[in-house]
Each structure stands twice: as structure tokens, then as C-alpha cells.
């Protein structure tokens, strides 16, 4: 009860602050980040002004992929062991509904309008298509073994799905829902990210230890980002999450058990810096003003805050057990 009141106060305070900010355009915006904790079966809510966990929401089993709906009203979290995606109401910060996702959903992507959701179902080699408004399943697309990474091109026409054991990025036409091309990448592709200008897709390969840069028009790998950290074995470098700044100049790549985020110059595809974060870093999210990048560090059970301009880790926040995914309110 007390906690609820405290949250209520915090929220009111935050609303007040935001209103004040709108008038004063002060530099410090407060955002709200949601972190899925794979082992705790919870979602931690982080206030980016105080950098503290303001609430821990109980969700289904094995929460992993997490994202806001386009309207900012709900947070969707894939709870794989419950074979569903739960909807968290961003106002009340509690689970209010679920989506018919298919078995073992892990990551998902939504179209630009926020009407259609595409879900990678690891257990049956399919991508499930869901109507978000009706919350109904529209159908499935057969892909490779263990689909995981999902992203949609900025124009909404192409969906990319990566399959971990098939080692491919599948290019799917969103209007016909047919695979139009399959691009072989290095072992265990985990995550795909478009450049904002749509000229390249970056796909991370966890076991291969690389990021493949794909030309989405030609469906060809046109380059690779390689990582080398003195004193670390190659096997420990396992790229997973990718974040790209809106100007498409800088990419951040999470390197898993290497405990580092690589800062990559997008033009040259060369690493310019490695930032030490927590243990087994997987996913990340920018604050909407792109001042900060938050990363989930699974084994150390925390979230690192990176000052994007300074390229420095400025803060660590303890969350639940095995933090996996992260999303920040738009």
C-alpha cells in the first residue's frame, strides 16, 4: 500500500515535472524504462531521472522480448514459458491482457502503424502474425530453425527474421507474407537492426562472433564488423543486441560474456571503443532524446547507463535476476 502510494506520488511528480519541462525545455528529461528479468519472472521499472527502480511488476514465466506499443499505452512482454505475450498498462503498470503468440515467443517486431505484430516462436520454426487491435492471430510464416531476431524496415515493407540454427536472415515481404530472400550469416544470428536510412541491415552472430552488414536491396552480405579485445579469447566475444543512433553514425553492439559494449563507426564498420559494462550484456535501449543508452547485464543482474555523447558508463542499477530485454517509453 505504502509502495503504491509512493509510486503514485512519484508518477504525479513525474507528470508535474514533464509539464514543467514542456514549458521550460530544461535539459534533463525523465523517462521510464522497462526491463524484463528472465529468471525472476518480473519487469523492473526504472525512472531515468533518479536512476532507481520504482516498481517491480510480476509477469508470466520467462519474460524476454519487451517493447512499447506505438501509442505508448502498453508494454508488451514475451513470456516464453507461458506461450504468450503479456500487455502491461503503462499507466497502472500492471498486466492487463495477453496476446495469442504461439509457443515460446522470444522477440517480436511491430509495423510502423503499430497494428501488426510479428513474433518469433523459437519452438516451432514459425513467425506468428498478430493483429494488435483485435488481439487475434492472423497466421504463421514458416522460417528456419529457432527463429529469434526480428526487425522491420523503416518503410514497413520488409520484415527480417533471423534463425539461430539455420544461420540465416530471412527477408519477408510484409504485404504478401512470403519469404523473398534468405541470407546466410555467421553462426547463431540473434538480432537484426536496420539503419534508419534503410540502406543496411546489421545482424549479430552470437557464436560466429561477428556482425554481418547486409544490403537489403541485393540481399547480400556487404561487410562484417569484427571484434577483438586484448586479453580476451575470441570465444568470449558473443555479439547480441545492436543499437544505432538516429543519425546512423554510431552503432553500439552488446558482446555478451565479453562484458562490453562495442562502439562502432557505422561508415567504416570499425570498433572505436569498448565500454566495460556488467556481466553477459545482451540488449539495450536509447532514451528518446538519445542522451543515454541502457544495457541489460544478465549475470550481474543490473542495468548499465551509458552517456552516449561521452561514450562513458555513468551508472549501474540493480534489477531482478537475469535481466534480458529493455524498452523505454516513447
Amino acid at each position: 500500500m505504502q509502495a503504491e502510494m509512493r509510486n503514485q506520488m512519484l508518477r504525479m511528480w513525474r507528470v508535474g515535472l514533464l509539464a514543467g519541462l514542456a514549458l521550460a525545455t530544461a535539459p534533463a528529461h525523465a523517462f521510464i524504462a522497462y526491463v524484463s528479468n528472465e529468471k525472476s519472472n518480473t519487469v523492473s521499472v526504472i525512472d531515468t531521472d533518479s536512476w532507481t527502480v520504482t516498481k517491480t511488476i510480476k509477469v508470466g514465466q520467462r519474460p524476454r522480448g519487451i517493447d512499447f506499443t506505438r501509442d505508448g499505452k502498453f508494454v508488451m512482454v514475451a513470456v516464453g514459458d507461458d506461450d504468450t505475450i503479456q500487455m502491461i498498462d503503462a499507466k497502472t503498470q500492471s498486466v492487463v491482457d495477453s496476446l495469442p503468440s504461439g509457443p515460446d515467443p522470444e522477440l517480436f517486431a511491430q509495423d510502423a502503424a503499430g497494428k501488426i505484430l510479428y513474433v518469433a516462436n523459437e519452438n516451432d520454426n514459425t513467425v506468428t502474425v498478430i493483429d494488435l487491435e483485435k488481439r487475434a492471430r492472423l497466421g504463421d510464416i514458416q522460417v528456419g530453425v529457432e527463429p529469434e531476431g526480428m526487425t522491420i524496415s523503416p518503410d514497413g515493407k520488409t520484415l527480417i527474421n533471423t534463425s539461430e540454427t539455420t544461420n540465416m536472415a530471412h527477408f519477408i515481404d510484409t504485404s504478401s507474407r512470403q519469404i523473398v530472400a534468405n541470407v546466410l550469416v555467421d553462426a547463431r544470428p540473434r538480432f537484426a537492426e536496420f539503419k534508419h536510412d534503410a540502406s543496411e541491415v546489421w545482424v549479430s552472430s552470437e557464436i560466429g562472433g561477428t556482425v554481418s552488414v547486409i544490403d537489403p536491396g541485393k540481399h547480400e552480405v556487404i561487410g562484417k564488423v569484427n571484434f577483438e579485445i586484448p586479453g580476451l579469447r575470441k570465444e568470449a566475444i558473443q555479439p547480441v543486441g545492436i543499437g544505432m543512433t538516429k543519425d546512423d553514425k554510431t552503432a553500439f553492439v552488446a558482446l555478451g560474456p565479453a562484458n562490453r559494449i562495442a562502439v562502432v563507426d557505422v561508415a567504416t564498420r570499425k570498433v572505436t571503443k569498448y565500454l566495460l559494462v556488467g556481466q553477459r550484456v545482451w540488449h539495450m535501449a536509447f532514451t528518446p532524446d538519445e542522451k543515454y543508452l541502457l544495457t541489460t547485464n544478465g549475470v550481474s543482474n543490473d542495468v548499465s547507463v551509458i552517456d552516449v555523447a561521452a561514450q562513458k558508463v555513468i551508472k549501474t542499477i540493480q534489477v531482478g535476476e537475469l535481466p534480458w530485454g529493455i524498452t523505454i517509453a516513447p
Binding site: 529457432e146 539461430e164 540454427t165 512470403q178 553462426a187 562472433g209 570465444e235
Partner: protein, 393 residues
């Protein structure tokens, strides 16, 4: 909904239209022994299809990938009975298959590999853990996905030493393979600084593994058998023959843990392994085979996946091309063990982390932290390049 269904039908048609040409056929043979050995524990009794079930799953996985590359994998299974000629069966399989997964004893495997040497058939040793197949008796046409006894012993030894259980009471069975495992454990103790405080032999005097009042008898035998040992931290059992190992836990005279062939056991795979995305494969396996996945299943799965990995990377079904790629420096395969697996180029042994399991859970995974190596930490398990007696030919 109807539009969607039509779309789905369209997709199927389109998928078949993309590849008008016949798919590239890649034949894989599986050669194993009929019948299964007897274990002390009823729950560990291997299934009739132990091993080949893993190969079947990998064929399915390869075909899911293959449909995007116009490649089609088939599995031809052959089980030989006692007294049947392995060479003849292998030669017959090799007529139709460029790759053969073998679960054979060392001697039979060597005969097969020599008989097939000039055909260009690539053999995968999925079953035999004998050191000599990777050392003095190594062959250029045999790739080993099964770990060796030394790798298993080192994996266990690293953990025991990390745990500071460095005084071992070694109990060895009276069969040849028990003695070979004991040799590996002695080597491990020397390498990692453990001390074998005493060795005891458990003589196999015959007798049934299934009896109606067995427990009462065992409960009297085992404490007495382990009585009077010098101070030790852990009892390490070498009993590949399944004669006594499983009788030891909870029955030692002193309250000590058991490891080796019972208790904490080193294995390439276990039904309880669910890290690094393994749960997906465990689920696929159960769905296909209606039972859980064993180490032998995994060793066969890995072999077939290696073939699939090489055929997709080379975009070819040509055996020579695929073999060259697998043996080449760019080859690696993902097998749900948290790291890429590569081949030791000096003896074609697959490097791999080894799980330490207690029958219900994965207790730890070796190599352990702190066991360092200049090339790969996986090479802290088993014989390393400078020690190797293998000359591939």
C-alpha cells in the same frame, strides 16, 4: 482469414517454384550396433534408438535450412548384430552416402576407416571415447564428435580441484575400459595437482544387475568395501562397465561425495541441459523421439549438423568440398554449449565444453574458470597439440 490461407498456399507454391531444379541430395549413413548395453540404473537404460535419434533430429534441422538452399538430406540407418561384418555394412552404406556417422567400438571403427579410405567417404566417430583413435591410431577420414576419456576426466578433475576436493579415493573396475578411464583420471590428477590417496579395484564377479532384494545386499557391501581408506575428499569411480559405480553414492563408509562413473558425472550432453538456447533443441528432440536426449544422441546430432553447416556454407553437396571445408580453418559449429565448437586440426577431435551432471541437473560446465590456454581454453581438456602422437594419414 481466407485471404491469409490463400496467401499461405501461394507461399508454398512460390517456395517450390523458386527452385525448379531438383534439390541437391546429401546422403548420410548411420552405422551402429544392434541391442543396447545394460546399466545399473533402470532410468539410464539406453533406448533402442540411442544415438540415431539425434541424427534424425539433425537431418530435420538440416532440411529446414536446406529448403532455403535447395538441399535435401537423407539418413540411411544400419544396425549390425554381433558377428556381422562392420566393413561390409559400411562399404554398402558408402555406395549411397558420402558421410557416415559411426557408433562402433574402436577396432571396428579402424577397420571401417581403412576400408573406406580410398573412397573419400567421411566418417564421424560419434560413440567411441578411446584416446588411441585420436592418438597413435588416428585417421584422416575420421572426425570425432565424441569426447575422449582424457577430456571427460580433465573436465571432472578441473571442477574437483576448483572445489578443493584434491584428495581422491580411486575405485577402478576390473574391465579394460574401466582401467582406461582410471588411466585418464590418474593423468588428470597429475596435471591439475590432485592426489590419489588410495586405489581400490572392484572385481566383477558376475551377477545380475536386476534382483529383487538387491538394495539390502548393496547397503551392506558398499560401506565395508570403502572402509579404512586414508583421509580423502571425494571418491572417484572408474566403472564404464556399469558393475558397481551407481552403488556408491550415499553408501561410502565415510560421508564423502562420489564422482566419475557415478555421482557427479562428466558428459558431452545431458537431458537437463537448458542453457544457451538448448531448451529449444531439447523440446524438438522430445517431440520427435518421445524421450529425452542423451550424450550419444547429441554426439550424433552434432556430426550431422556439422555436415549441414558445411553444405550450407559451401552451398554444395560435393563430398570433397564439404570435407575440405570441415577440416579447414574457417569451420565452426554451434551446438548449444555457449561457445563455437571447432576441430583440433592435428587429430580431428571436436573441441567442446563438458557438462558435469548429477542425473537431475547440470552442476557445472568445464573448462573451469582459471584454467588458461594460449589457443583455446577448450584445449585444457584432453591431450593438447604438443603431447599428441597423431600423424594424420
Amino acid at each position: 482469414m481466407i485471404r491469409w490461407l490463400l496467401g499461405l498456399i501461394g507461399l508454398c507454391l512460390a517456395a517450390t517454384q523458386v527452385f525448379a531444379a531438383d534439390p541437391v541430395a546429401i546422403g548420410v549413413g548411420y552405422l551402429g550396433l544392434a541391442g543396447s548395453r545394460s546399466t545399473l540404473s533402470l532410468v539410464e537404460q539406453p533406448a533402442e534408438n540411442d544415438g540415431v535419434a539425434g541424427a534424425r533430429l539433425a537431418i530435420e534441422d538440416n532440411n529446414t535450412t536446406g529448403k532455403f538452399l535447395n538441399q535435401r538430406f537423407t539418413l540411411e540407418e544400419r544396425r549390425i548384430r554381433d558377428g556381422e561384418d562392420a566393413v561390409q555394412a559400411a562399404t554398402d552404406l558408402a555406395a549411397r552416402n558420402g558421410f557416415i556417422i559411426a557408433d562402433l567400438p574402436a577396432d571396428a571403427l579402424l577397420k571401417v576407416s581403412d576400408a573406406l579410405r580410398d573412397r573419400g567417404t567421411l566418417l564421424f566417430n560419434a560413440g567411441a571415447i578411446d584416446e588411441r583413435l585420436r592418438e597413435a591410431d588416428c585417421r584422416a577420414n575420421v572426425i570425432h564428435t565424441a569426447p575422449t576419456r582424457a577430456m571427460l576426466a580433465d573436465a571432472l578433475g578441473q571442477y574437483l580441484v576448483w572445489k578443493k576436493w584434491s584428495r581422491w579415493l580411486l575405485v577402478v573396475g576390473s574391465h579394460d575400459e574401466d582401467k582406461l578411464f582410471a588411466d585418464a583420471l590418474r593423468r588428470t590428477a597429475t596435471r591439475f595437482g590432485a592426489k590419489i590417496v588410495q586405489e581400490k579395484t572392484f572385481e566383477d564377479k558376475g551377477g545380475a544387475r536386476r534382483t529383487d532384494s538387491g538394495v539390502t545386499l548393496i547397503q551392506r557391501q558398499m560401506p565395508v568395501f570403502t572402509q579404512g581408506a586414508p583421509a580423502y575428499d571425494v571418491l572417484v569411480a572408474a566403472d564404464e562397465s556399469e558393475v558397481f559405480g551407481a552403488y556408491l553414492p550415499y553408501r561410502t563408509w565415510d560421508a564423502r561425495p562420489v564422482a566419475g562413473s557415478a555421482g557427479l558425472v562428466p558428459r558431452s550432453w545431458d537431458a537437463s541441459q537448458d542453457q544457451w538456447g538448448a531448451i529449444q533443441m531439447q523440446n524438438r528432440f522430445v517431440k520427435l523421439n518421445s524421450r529425452r536426449m542423451t550424450a550419444l544422441d547429441m554426439q550424433a546430432w552434432t556430426a550431422v549438423r556439422m555436415i549441414g553447416e558445411a553444405t550450407s556454407r559451401t552451398n554444395s553437396g560435393d563430398v570433397k568440398k564439404v570435407v575440405d571445408f570441415i577440416k579447414g580453418p574457417d569451420f565452426s559449429v554451434a551446438a548449444f554449449k555457449g561457445t563455437r565448437l571447432t576441430l583440433r586440426d592435428w587429430n580431428l577431435q571436436l573441441r567442446q565444453p563438458i557438462l558435469l551432471v548429477d542425473g537431475r541437473m547440470v552442476v557445472s560446465v568445464s573448462p573451469q574458470e582459471g584454467f588458461l590456454h594460449q589457443v583455446s581454453e577448450l584445449d585444457t581438456l584432453g591431450y593438447d597439440r604438443p603431447e599428441s602422437k597423431c600423424k594424420l594419414k
